[in-house]
């Protein structure tokens, strides 16, 4: 999983199409039975069985793990306000989630892609890309009064995504080509760095790498990084007008398919780690500006793991990176001492051992790469091999427990493993059966719970989700739903809540509000189809919101304390309608 710069409070699951696709895929996948009960501690080298293969090295071709990305075309939250744009009318609405008042502002032509900006408690700011006028508008709202809109901020053509720095000093408009039917020669290499610190925002156009896939600004707002198919473009933000310092390659293969790699940049911008699909190596990239123009320093170092790395994730405090090597029947993974529990080895290029010893139990490996130590000693890290199939890892922003699962095959298990070296339960793990095939797992911000979206285990079953206590060994709850999970939003403070939106894209739409620690679930019927990426929380107002499809705009708010919903319809034409349902 990637370390996104956006808030972890809101986690959005698959868009409808992606859901359907994944469901279809899973139906054809080899399945792994459940039936192991909940909260079972599974370890050692004992095979769990259940893989529909005869073992050996040729039985099953397991597809890659799938990660879901978030749509940017959705309302955003700043303070207690929800901003939403209507490309058709050129209007941007700001809704106060406490009293549901609606104010409108004019933006440019076809305001489409919104981002919230950090602001003080009594004001709210947002930026919107006006896709037809190729500019942006800075919007600001206070408790009362009109919404102010800046003069147009010129942008490059085709901008459709934002990256915002921690304090809101800089915002970068860029083009995410995912989902764009683009000419193969089109690289979307223009970005606009907008300096928001001045009274009048100043935009600087820069050329970056081919097909940017992610833009990241370091915590100190000194540099920005653009992950592209050609490498990582490094931008200096610290000395006057933004400028490109250089680019670091992330692969020694000039023609490597960039869509098959996964680049994680440390929050301080010092290093990046790169996973290459199907490869057992994790590439370490030094982003020191002094070395950017030194071609001789471009030699990349690698961490070698015992098998192809299927996921790579940074622990939020950046003390370590987690690399997953999924066990499958084509690769006999590490056979450690077989001592039954987590096999902890000081692995390295040879330490993990890749000896093929014929059909072996399906053991997956989690390697914990210490940061910054791994960059000076790439062969020094801890790995844990477990008799489970997992290919993905998620970890909460404030958590230390890794959530391990797979969606490449039908599997109902989630393994929870402690990654903090100073914890008494370091490397302890347990596996939970959630009674449905896991599609994705979303940790709560504090890491104490997780929501797993589930697909049916057999034809005719319903989809659903599971609520998994992560911080304590307690039973999980599985909830069947009338439609696949569409989006997930969670809060930890002041209330521990989760809101799960389900949609089949046709007629069944609902939101489920989960109260923790009771794990009580309430269902709220939605009047219309939720929009992709448009489920979120307004923590300052104690509300969840779900934006829905409606020609005049529709948002359903759900009080996280009471569970009472309110739907506002028609705010685009200032005809505010509030109804409780």
């Amino acid at each position: 999983m990637r370390l996104w710069t956006g808030s972890w409070v809101v986690l959005t699951a698959a868009a409808i199409a992606a859901c359907s696709s994944a469901l279809d895929d899973s139906a054809a996948l080899p399945s792994r039975g459940s039936g192991n009960g909940t909260g079972s501690n599974i370890g050692g080298s004992t095979s769990q069985g259940g893989i529909s293969s005869s073992g050996g090295s040729t039985a099953v071709v397991v597809p890659p793990e799938q990660e879901e990305d978030q749509s940017f075309r959705a309302p955003v939250v700043s303070g207690r306000w929800v901003w939403t744009a209507n490309p058709d009318t050129g209007k941007v609405a700001v809704v106060d989630a406490k009293n549901f008042t609606v104010r409108l502002a004019d933006a440019g032509q076809a305001p489409t892609y919104l981002t919230a900006l950090p602001s003080d408690t009594n004001t709210s700011k947002a930026l919107v890309i006006n896709s037809k006028s190729q500019d942006a508008t800075l919007l600001s709202a206070g408790d009362t009064g009109d919404v102010t809109a800046s003069s147009p901020i010129p942008l490059q053509p085709n901008a459709n995504a934002w990256a915002v720095s921690k304090s809101g000093h800089f915002a970068i408009a860029w083009t995410d080509s995912q989902g764009i039917m683009a000419d193969p020669a089109e690289g979307f290499q223009d970005i606009s760095v907008v300096d928001l610190s001045a009274a009048t925002p100043v935009a600087t156009r820069l050329g970056v790498g081919f097909l940017p896939s992610r833009v990241f600004i370091d915590d100190d707002e000194q540099r920005a990084f653009v992950v592209a198919s050609t490498g990582i473009t490094v931008i200096d933000l610290s000395s006057g007008a933004p400028r490109v310092l250089g680019e670091k390659a992330v692969s020694s293969d000039l023609k490597e398919d960039a869509t098959t790699r996964d680049v994680s940049i440390l929050p301080d911008g010092s290093y990046a780690l790169v996973r290459h699909e199907g490869s057992a190596t994790v590439t370490l990239v030094n982003l020191d500006p002094a070395q950017l123009s030194d071609t001789t320093a471009r030699t990349l170092s690698d961490v070698v793991l015992p098998g192809p790395v299927t996921d790579l994730d940074l622990v939020a405090d950046s003390t370590s990176a987690l690399a997953v090597v999924r066990g499958d029947t084509t690769t006999a993974t590490d056979v450690d001492a077989g001592n039954g529990d987590a096999s902890d080895s000081q692995a390295g290029a040879s330490g993990a051992g890749a000896a093929n010893v014929g059909p072996e139990p399906l053991r997956s490996t989690l390697a914990i790469l210490p940061i910054p130590g791994i960059f000076s000693a790439p062969s020094s890290f801890v790995s844990v091999s477990i008799d489970e199939v997992f290919g993905l890892v998620n970890i909460a922003p404030q958590g230390t427990k890794a959530l391990l699962y797979t969606n490449a095959i039908a599997d109902s298990h989630i393994t929870v493993l402690e990654t903090a070296p100073d914890s008494q339960s370091y490397l302890d793990h347990r596996t939970i059966d959630v009674h449905g095939n896991v599609k994705d797992v979303f940790p709560s911000p504090d890491g104490s719970y997780a929501i797993a979206s589930l697909t049916p285990q057999t034809m005719g079953d319903k989809p659903g989700f599971a609520v998994v206590p992560v911080g304590a060994v307690l039973p999980s709850r599985t909830q069947t739903t009338e439609a696949p999970v569409f989006a997930v939003a969670q809060s930890s403070t002041p209330l521990q809540r989760a809101v799960i939106t389900v949609s089949d894209g046709a007629a069944n739409f609902a939101a489920y509000v989960v109260r923790m620690p009771e794990l009580v679930v309430d269902r709220v019927v939605l009047p219309s189809q939720p929009l992709a990426g448009a489920t979120g929380l307004v923590p300052d107002a104690g509300m969840a919101y779900i934006a829905e499809s409606s020609p005049e705009g529709r948002i359903t708010f759900i009080d996280l304390e009471t569970g009472v919903p309110r739907t506002i319809t028609g705010f685009e034409i200032s005809a505010k309608v509030i109804d409780g349902n």
Partner: protein, 546 residues
């Protein structure tokens, strides 16, 4: 005079036209178009040659015909032909072969002054001159002479100078002392008769009053004419070898230095900037010849390489030759000192594994060599660090389209590659902006018409223009490129750009693109602000600024 506006350094094409602040003619299609334009000179023009010498013409305010009687048929816009303008200082010169007039346009104010040249003024060149005077010279293809135009703030002085018949190219010494009119066979429309050697050229001493014109025969089909550093000699590369022109007194051909070239094998002659030697590559041969141009009797030095060189380039300072051994596996690059190569053990070598490399373009500062192939489709450009301390380290960049041509900015910091769109693309063209010294991703720019012309500003301005157009498209435009941030903005043009008519007016940070229009049309682009202004119809004094 300011002729620093542009420069793509493709050393093995050393036409002196490339020393003018105009855009290059590119690709075969371009040459073809230029030839077709030349045919336009055959259309009888309304003006006589007016061959008087030194006609003083005041600040011209062109007159507008009265016309207007309702019984008269509608006015017809004649399909006049304008050749590529040239810029000097803050002005732009533009010739009209049909009317016999030359327009002088102030790029700051767009004020137009007109003057008469000879019959069919066609091929313009800037002439370095005294401060306060803008100077250009134009070949009048109908009257077989040249008009030397010297403009001050309030007048344009025109001097007519006899030339040989069929001249279509200029080589101008960098001090403005000499201008040599010659005939470039590649600019001749159609296939010339095999016996037609275009051997004559005309040396004009512009320092004399009146200018002295000397015709002479230099050899079969000159392909380039260059001067030595002291302007004591000029060299004409001809089929037989290199003819040496003595300019110290009355010009004459003092020697012919032969070049060994088996059969009809193509040659690539690189003459050093000071004119003391030439480095010659012959296609299919592994031997590189180094010719002493100061002595017609000296035997050439031979540098034998591992295999035949598919390309060779001479550094701008004339101290290093770099050859590509493109038929090796993997391809290799060899660099050696010239004119004294020394011990071959001291040659610098680099192998380029995994890449298809057959051509080389050296940056003006000789710190980087750009390696590519255009005979076969190859998307990659390899940058070889040729700085003395760099030990020939290299890196390759994927430009996402087959490379056709590579140009380097005057400060060597940026290259621009013209390419073919990748397979599956619906685009008509493609070019890439490639930082050469900073390790940074190239900017790939797909285009809706074919990139044809390029012009670089001086480094302080840091801009370039790339003009796109082709005969099959109605999309005409020019990309204004910021070389520092790789920003590129497209400016739509009202009509099709003329081949080779994109350039920079250096003193005022203004770019220009001359376009097809019966009465003349030039779009001016402020390189600082990006503001464009189009001047249309300046030939009939109806200066329309849009």
């Amino acid at each position: 005079m300011a002729i620093d506006a542009f420069r793509s350094m493709r050393a093995n094409v050393r036409s002196r036209w490339a020393a003018l602040p105009i855009a290059l003619l590119l690709l075969a299609g371009c040459s073809s178009a230029a030839s077709e334009d030349a045919a336009g000179a055959d259309v009888p023009g309304p003006m006589s040659s007016g061959g008087g010498t030194s006609a003083n013409i005041g600040a011209g305010v062109p007159t507008v015909g009265s016309g207007g009687a309702s019984s008269l048929p509608p006015e017809k816009e004649l399909d006049q032909t304008f050749r590529a303008p040239v810029a000097t200082g803050s002005v732009l010169w533009s010739a009209n072969p049909d009317s016999g007039r030359v327009a002088l346009i102030d790029a700051r104010t767009l004020q137009v002054r007109m003057t008469n040249a000879g019959f069919g003024p066609t091929y313009l060149a800037a002439v370095p001159g005294a401060p306060g005077t803008d100077s250009a010279i134009v070949l009048n293809v109908g009257s077989h002479d040249a008009s030397w135009l010297q403009a001050t703030a309030d007048q344009i002085n025109v001097t007519t100078i006899a030339t040989h018949t069929g001249a279509n190219a200029w080589s101008i010494s960098d001090d403005g002392h000499f201008a040599i009119a010659w005939t470039d066979v590649t600019q001749i429309q159609g296939v010339p008769d095999p016996t037609d050697g275009f051997s004559e050229l005309t040396v004009i001493d512009l320092s004399a009053t009146p200018p002295l014109s000397t015709r002479m025969s230099v050899g079969f089909r000159p392909s380039q004419v260059v001067f030595d550093a002291h302007k004591l000699h000029a060299f004409a590369v001809v089929d037989e070898g290199i003819s040496v022109l003595d300019l110290s007194g009355s010009p004459f051909v003092s020697a012919l230095i032969s070049v060994t070239s088996p059969g009809t094998a193509a040659r690539d002659v690189n003459i050093s900037p000071d004119g003391s030697f030439a480095v010659v590559r012959v296609a299919g041969s592994k031997d590189i010849q180094i010719l002493d141009l100061t002595s017609s009797t000296s035997a050439p030095q031979i540098v034998s390489l591992e295999s035949d060189a598919t390309d060779l380039d001479l550094s701008a300072d004339g101290k290093t030759a770099t050859a590509v051994l493109g038929n090796e596996t993997p391809p290799k690059v060899v660099s050696f000192a010239v004119p004294d190569p020394g011990d071959p053990a001291n040659f610098k070598h680099a192998a380029i594994p995994g890449e298809l490399v057959r051509s080389v373009t050296l940056a003006p500062d000789n710190q980087v060599a750009l390696l590519y192939a255009n005979a076969v489709p190859s998307d990659d450009l390899t940058l070889l660090d040729t700085a003395p301390a760099a030990n020939f380290t290299l890196r390759s960049v994927d430009l996402h389209g087959a490379v056709q041509k590579v140009y380097v900015s005057p400060d060597s910091q940026t290259a621009i590659a013209f390419q073919l769109p990748p397979q599956g693309s619906m685009k008509k063209g493609l070019f890439s902006i490639v930082p050469t010294e900073v390790v940074r991703s190239p900017m790939i720019v797909p285009t809706d018409a074919t990139p044809q012309d390029i012009a670089f500003s001086n480094p302080a301005v840091g801009r370039a223009l790339v003009t796109v157009h082709d005969a099959t498209s109605t999309v005409y435009g020019v990309y204004v490129i910021g070389l520092a941030n790789l920003e590129q903005n497209f400016v739509t043009l009202a009509s099709e750009p003329l081949p080779g008519a994109t350039g920079i007016v250096p003193d005022v940070h203004v770019g220009f693109v001359a376009q097809q229009h019966p009465e003349g049309r030039i779009t001016f682009i402020n390189l600082d602000s990006g503001v464009t202004q189009t001047l249309t119809g300046f030939e009939i004094a109806a200066s329309v600024v849009q």
